[in-house]
Symmetry: C2
Subunit: 228 residues, 2 copies
DNA sequence: AAAACTATGTGATATTATTCACAACAAATC
DNA sequence: GATTTGTTGTGAATAATATCACATAGTTTT
């Protein structure tokens, strides 16, 4: 087994993609090859094999990988067999959309508290949460309900005042959707998702196609036409 | 100037982060150094300089970068000076949240059509859209309204039937939020954002921390305890 | 049971991305 | 105007990641 190296971050993210693909397969499909996985996910077959080999010899030569076994293994590697308690901070449209997202429950993420500046009762309840709690209660609730992950969907103006409370609350991980790069600390692992950044990347790609070097000014920027 | 190399994808994504940071600075801050940018964004100063140098010599030695000039340049590089027409497909909670997201307008992304299985009038209008259009009208509307980017926020069950229509509609780029890896083609550049994957990556990190490192060798191997 | 096929696991190699280290330059101070 | 301080831009070194290529092993066919 290939245990001499620690798995790259990129590998871990792909595991999640593999799992999703495996879950989408019909029940009659028992085996899958690196070839197939690679083709459906626009990856290199060797990369798929290497990714999986970081965690064990899951495949059978000449045959492929057992779908059932692979799903189990990836679930285990990603820690999806354990339930994680999740809180959501900032219940605007996006926060509410995430709170109601059925995919979380399926993956063992339990939404068990919602926080906002404006508290409010909820009926019906969302996940385990029967009300939107005042944000000042966050530190206590995180401890009481054993919340490991907080999802931040507050407006960017609020992030500064809220981030202190969040980072010192005892939570272990934060998924931040506010358009502000929140930094990880020793104790809290932060992952930032920026919706604008994603669109801006697309805009860059479009911009490349738009200007096929007609404009000499554009040349200055060394914009690569071949990138996409 | 460093125009001999094409800028890495990673560089382009960071430009967006730089821009966001620059926009958050007070009006009185005229200059900024790679040191400062790096510190606030948890990056290496050399990386910041190199990223910027791919596109031109924007800085002044001994001084730093002009905030105003840098903002202008990044806006131009990312193509944010041009307005892009955007359509959103699947107006559930997430689709609606994105449709109403004020950040898009600020970056020159104009939401000009919403599509769903269930059409509906809208008042007040959202962006440029006065109604939710029946999804069957998508190909025509994309052409008529000159939509360059489609954002997909349909449920995963619908993605297969909808993706064909989307990919052949003449749109140039797609931002897909459905938990399914949609592949780019020659004509359409697809970017996938998966909310579950983000959470699952955090789960993996928590899982590593959970397993106490009894054996010092474990630290080297980076393998979750339960797999050994 | 040998040959032909198929698919994994992985060492070697190639590619991409990051960081170091320093020359080149700008401004401030003596 | 020489010296000190600060900061960029970039070649070189390093690190991370991806791909190639093939030995190894399971399966099927003859």
């Amino acid at each position: 087994m290939n245990t001499k190296l620690i798995p790259p971050q990129a590998t871990v993210k792909r595991l999640s993609i593999y799992l999703r693909f495996l879950n989408s397969l019909g029940k009659d499909i028992k085996m899958v090859s690196s070839q197939e996985l690679a083709k459906k996910l626009a990856l290199n077959p060797a990369q798929v094999r290497k990714d999986l080999a970081y965690f064990g010899d899951f495949g059978k030569r000449g045959v492929g990988y057992s779908v059932k076994k692979l799903k189990e293994q990836i679930n285990k590697i990603l820690g999806l067999h354990k339930t994680r308690n999740v809180g959501i901070v900032g219940i605007g449209r996006l926060g509410m959309a995430l709170a109601c997202y059925p995919g979380f429950e399926k993956k063992n993420f339990k939404v068990c508290a919602l926080f906002d500046k404006v508290p409010k009762a909820l009926s019906p309840k969302i996940g385990e949460a029967t009300e939107i709690l005042d944000i000042t209660h966050l530190p206590k609730v995180v401890k009481d309900k054993d919340i490991e992950i907080l999802i931040l969907t507050v407006p960017v103006e609020a992030i500064k005042e809220i981030s202190d409370m969040v980072m010192t609350s005892g939570v272990k991980a934060v998924l931040n959707f506010a358009p502000f790069k929140l930094l990880s600390t020793e104790d809290v692992h932060v992952h930032n998702v920026d919706l604008s950044t994603e669109l801006e990347f697309l805009s860059y790609s479009l911009n490349l196609k738009d200007s096929p070097k007609e404009d000499p000014a554009e040349e200055l920027y060394g914009i690569p036409t071949q990138l996409l």
